[in-house]
């Protein structure tokens, strides 16, 4: 989707795109500062902030003690008092220690105070599984946060979004949570030299198609595109939607697509029960019931703590083959034509 006249694209990785976004944010606004465990001297647990301490100094790139509640709360307080903090929580797995501050303070203060104070804070977290780091480091809990009014929740799946979402999030007067899937950091790809801020209120159609709609986000977008390729070889033309924003959900794009294709498969690395996929499913039934030609299918992580063993972890997670089966399942005989 690059326009014809874009500046020459160059090779880069998702990780470097995140770093470029952080550097540009720190350079362009004095109020911005980065805070989190090992973001400074160590360069970030996923090396996203390598070199930033040397460039911006310890005041604006602050290593913190292992006190998620305290430093996330401090980020909230600083945002309330005029700063634009970027707080990095190493992974969503550790964010549960700060969920009280995020839910009871960050998301709630504006409304509960009768509109007197906002929290313009950005929190970045790694998420998802696939590195055999076992259950306590492999959760995908985006839906915990997408459930909370007062927050915006984003899932950059592409290098362009990794580069562009942070700037827009920092402009937002309310707390924004950015989920970066751990498997994406090393992914290579092209990025326009002048790539910058991108809108954060719309889903994107990564592949147009007419027979079925596959809805995915973050780490499952690539798997859905792979599945769509396999389906194409079997004569099934699947559309792939990248949600990009998990709260608020872009109902219009979802419903418009499903109304065209009449079939929907939702791919979500969260556990099936009470998942984001369940919410998307409910909205499709509420808004496109009469256009459905088959029950909506979901491909989610098996309801199990993510196991260490490689073969078990792969069996637990959504995979292209499962997505292909789910799409064919919605096609009935046409699918096996």
């Amino acid at each position: 989707m690059t326009n014809g006249t874009a500046a020459p694209a160059r090779k880069t990785t998702y990780r470097e795109a995140v770093r470029a976004a952080l550097r540009e944010a720190l350079r362009s606004d004095e109020r911005v500062f980065l805070m989190g465990e090992d973001v400074g001297r160590y360069g970030g647990s996923y090396a996203c902030s390598l070199g930033l301490l040397e460039e911006f100094g310890p005041e604006r790139v602050r290593d913190t003690p292992l006190s998620e509640a305290a430093f996330v709360g401090a980020g909230i307080g600083a945002a309330m008092a005029g700063m634009r903090p970027i707080v990095e929580i190493m992974t969503v797995n550790f964010s549960l220690l700060a969920l009280d501050q995020i839910l009871n303070n960050a998301a709630t203060l504006r409304h509960m105070s009768g509109g007197q104070v906002g929290v313009p804070l950005v929190i970045r977290m790694a998420t998802g599984a696939g590195r055999q780091v076992a259950a306590q480091h492999s959760h995908s809990l985006e839906n915990f946060y997408a459930h909370i009014p007062g927050l915006k929740v984003l899932a950059p799946a592409t290098i362009e979004d990794a580069r562009g979402m942070l700037a827009t999030a920092l402009e937002d007067p309310d707390p924004v949570i950015l989920f970066e899937h751990a498997m994406l950091y090393p992914v290579e790809g092209e990025l326009a030299a002048d790539a910058g801020a991108v809108p954060i209120d719309r889903a994107a159609i990564r592949r147009a198609g007419k027979d079925a709609t596959i809805i995915a986000y973050g780490g499952t977008v690539a798997k859905s595109l792979a599945a769509a390729q396999t389906l194409a070889e079997r004569g099934v033309d699947a559309e792939v939607i990248d949600l990009r924003t998990l709260r608020p959900l872009d109902d219009d794009t979802i419903v418009a697509s499903v109304t065209r294709t009449r079939r929907a498969v939702i791919v979500d690395e969260g556990w099936r029960t009470g998942s984001l996929a369940a919410e998307v499913c409910a909205r499709i039934v509420e808004k496109a019931f009469y256009d459905l030609d088959a029950p909506i299918a979901r491909v989610c992580t098996e309801e199990v703590p993510i196991p260490y063993a490689k073969h078990l972890e792969e069996a637990a997670l959504p995979q292209p083959a499962k997505i292909v089966d789910a799409v064919l399942g919605t096609m009935g005989e046409a699918g096996h034509g």
Binding site: R262, D291, A294, G329, A334
Partner: protein, 392 residues
């Protein structure tokens, strides 16, 4: 009874520390009350003298009940009424539709196209009927354009009873059944029917028709039904009291012959939309109007005016092998004309015995408006007109 906690609705008066005549001042503990969490001291917020104690120890009362009144200061112990909790009556779930294994999109299109999904072969998951299956059945050349067209007219049951509540663009056969039943019952109740029949020799009519059709391209070929309709319209001029509406005790004759034509839907159900002003149409024009009306009825594309204002209905069910038809009048109309199947029968004419194509014409009519004699005159007129088809 003070509210002593966020979740407290009632409390039990345990013990009074005061009685009538006791002098109290603001903040004094006057009683003990038991709540779910235990016994709590209750203060009085008004200084004064206790007048009367209204609740005996051991009684449980809702928050806000007045426990005692005081004198001198006059103000009774403050009472607050706890708003009664109003429970919404549970909503009974809608009666489930008959179970048909078809997708919502399929059912929606089927309703719009008047297709019975239960008769279709399902190619969807678990052999359910899909929208594509219905599209094939409609035979519409699905070019991706949705089958329902925006200017789609709403279908109504023939007489103007309350139409079945259904999605505006679909024919709800169940709803239609209910509407027809209601109209028939009302017709039987309110309209004193009388019935007449007459056999008509169609030899001349059919001979003229075949000759005329031989000269026409097949697409302009005329059906006998068109002639029967034209004859009926012309006969009305001689007996106007069978063409019009009986409303609020008054018969209003109609100058125009808007003939309702009873058309059966292919999978059950009967609708009688009108061909307007048959009296002004040639037989060929009646044929064109009839063909168009039948086609549009079968796909549910009728105008509301075609539904609401037939002045006389003609049922040509003879087409299906029944020889004589005594139908029930559709209120507020005042008559119903029926034509049975054309049958080869022995027939005497001019003393000669021969075999002729015979049709039985019948009339059901409203005795409040016309009588058997006038009905007979009408049928005789129809017969006479059919003998000279070229003049119709």
């Amino acid at each position: 009874m003070p509210s002593l906690g966020a979740d407290m609705d009632a409390g039990t008066l345990v013990e009074w520390h005061v009685g009538p005549g006791t002098v109290v001042k603001r903040g004094d503990v006057v009683a003990l009350v038991e709540t779910d969490k235990g016994i709590v001291e209750v203060e009085i917020w008004e200084s004064g003298t206790i007048d009367a104690v209204l609740v005996a120890p051991g009684t449980k009362v809702p928050v806000g009940t007045v426990l005692a009144t005081t004198r001198a200061d006059g103000a009774p112990t403050p009472a607050t009424a706890a708003p009664p909790a109003v429970l919404n009556p549970p909503v009974s779930p809608a009666a489930p539709h008959a179970e048909v294994r078809a997708s919502p999109a399929a059912k929606q299109l089927a309703r719009e196209q008047g297709i019975d999904v239960t008769k279709l072969h399902g190619t969807g998951p678990h052999d359910t009927v899909t929208r594509a299956d219905v599209e094939r059945a409609v035979g519409a050349t699905a070019t991706g354009a949705p089958a329902t067209s925006p200017e789609h007219e709403r279908m109504q049951a023939p007489p103007p009873p309350a139409a079945a509540a259904e999605r505006p663009s679909g024919i709800d056969t169940a709803g239609m059944r209910r509407a027809i039943a209601a109209a028939m019952a009302r017709s039987k109740r309110e309209i004193p029917h009388y019935y007449l029949s007459a056999d008509i020799d169609l030899a001349a009519t059919i001979a003229w028709l075949e000759g005329d059709n031989a000269r026409r391209p097949v697409t302009e070929r005329i059906l006998l039904a068109a002639l029967l309709l034209k004859a009926t319209a012309s006969a009305i001029r001689e007996v106007p009291e069978i063409n019009g509406h009986f409303v609020d005790g008054v018969f209003r004759p109609s100058s125009a012959a808007h003939l309702g034509v009873a058309i059966s839907l292919r999978q059950g159900g009967l609708i009688a939309p009108a061909i307007h002003d048959v009296q002004d149409k040639s037989v060929a024009e009646v044929q064109i109007a009839l063909r168009d009306l039948v086609a549009r009825t079968r796909v549910g594309r009728l105008r509301s005016s075609e539904m609401s204002d037939p002045t006389l209905t003609v049922t040509n069910l003879g087409d299906q092998g029944v020889e004589s038809v005594f139908g029930v009048i559709y209120p507020p109309q005042v008559a119903l004309v029926g034509f049975g199947r054309v049958v080869e029968r022995p027939w005497a004419s001019g003393g000669m015995l021969g075999v002729r194509p015979i049709v039985t014409a019948t009339l059901s009519a409203d005795h409040r408006v016309s009588d058997g004699h006038r009905g007979g005159v009408f049928l005789a007129a129809v017969n006479r007109l059919l003998q000279r088809p070229e003049e119709l």
